[in-house]
């Protein structure tokens, strides 16, 4: 029998479902929150309620935001004719952290996967095709993973966008990377994509 009250057990059980937490670490986290009730527990609960009630998926691109249209889709300055296609919202955030892309995004929600039975209709590919036709898009940048599924999805999308320039991110040596530690596929891709100086 647990020594914790029922409401805390429920909280621990929910926390334990979060990535990176198990039952023991969830218990520690809950005890920590209880120790900082005013500074952490109540603001956290308030922030979670707020997010749960107000955050929604953007109807245009699949990003998350506080309105039907996310801040990026609502910003007219970003309507520069470029759409960057990413797998997940976390990839969009990574691109935004880099701060170099000034166009709009399209979040697919995954990649095509034969084994997991994820087809085009499970992703937002039809919506992307509609956007390209209706938003005056001049270039679609495919920023999908350098995996078999990611590249399969890249080719699939490129085939469905014959009337627009379709590009993909370069593959090669990462910043700070040393050749000795790279796999042969990355080295091969980097060599193929070499450029004159």
């Amino acid at each position: 029998m647990s020594a914790a009250p029922e409401s805390l057990e429920r909280l621990i059980e929910l926390m334990a479902r979060l990535p990176g937490l198990g039952p023991r670490s969830a218990r520690r986290a809950v005890l920590h929150l209880l120790g900082k009730r005013g500074q952490l527990l109540l603001p956290l609960a308030e922030a979670m309620r707020d997010a749960g009630q107000n955050v929604r998926d953007c109807v245009i691109c699949g990003n998350v935001g506080l309105a039907d249209e996310c801040a990026i889709c609502a910003d007219e300055r970003r309507a520069n004719g470029q759409i960057c296609v990413v797998e997940e919202v976390s990839d969009l955030w990574a691109m935004e952290r880099a701060g170099v892309f000034k166009g709009r995004y399209h979040v697919l929600g995954g990649t095509l996967s034969a084994l997991d039975a994820i087809g085009p209709d499970e992703l937002r590919i039809p919506r992307l095709v509609d956007r390209v036709a209706s938003e005056g898009v001049t270039e679609v940048i495919l920023a999908l993973g350098a995996t078999v599924d990611g590249q399969t999805t890249t080719h699939y999308i490129a085939d469905r966008l014959p009337d627009v320039t379709v590009t993909s991110l370069a593959q090669g040596v990462p910043v700070g990377g040393e050749l000795d530690y790279l796999d042969e596929g990355t080295i091969s891709a980097a060599l193929k994509a070499r450029r004159g100086l």
Binding site: L112, A114, L115, V148, Q151
Partner: protein, 240 residues
Amino acid sequence: MIEWRDEGTVLAVRPHGESSAIAEIFTAAHGRHLGLVRGGTSRKAQAALQPGTRVDAHWSARLADHLGAWRLEPVRSRSAVLMSDRLALAGLAAVTALLSRSLPERDAHAPLYARTEALLDLLGQGDVWPLAYLQWELALLEEMGFGLVLDRCAVTGGTDDLAYVSPRSGRAVSRDGAGDWVARLLPLPPVLRGAGEAGAADIVAALGTTGWFVRHRLIGAEVELPPARARLIDEIRRAG
């Protein structure tokens, strides 16, 4: 503790829990085999766990019927070819999907493993790959016990004018022997018998016939063929 070591090719990897993955590997001596890869979702491990990668696989478990755990060492990555070649990418996806769907678990198929490795080694050679893939599908059917017999007519016993395949027996049927059953028979393009042209259209037609047997004999009539195979056929048609 039960353990063994074998060579194999990664067919598929699925996340398991937060940091582990379940890897499905087609091994030379142990067939299609699953196991847990601890830390298999890490960035470092993911590069080695891409479908098509040849690995040195060490499997261990307390009991033989347990899922067990893999220790995998990549021997050969095929990603360099795949990333820039859409036919190769579609081909690899079709091969791994078909093996994953059709092979029974833990049943050794050494000849098919050798054929599969040879086929994957040809990835990137677009001029010969479609025909090699067609022959591999025939080998897959044969290895599973549903090989097509295409050297003589199942009705007349003759060897001339073979134009159809019986979906029931997988045997060739000549135009004379087809009779009133012609509408129920599958086409037999010469390339299926290793004769005639091996152009894209011929290979696509032949894959239509092998596809029927793969679906109805190996996968199950109620289940669709993997979409990856349809994408491969599109790519062969496009390349032709």
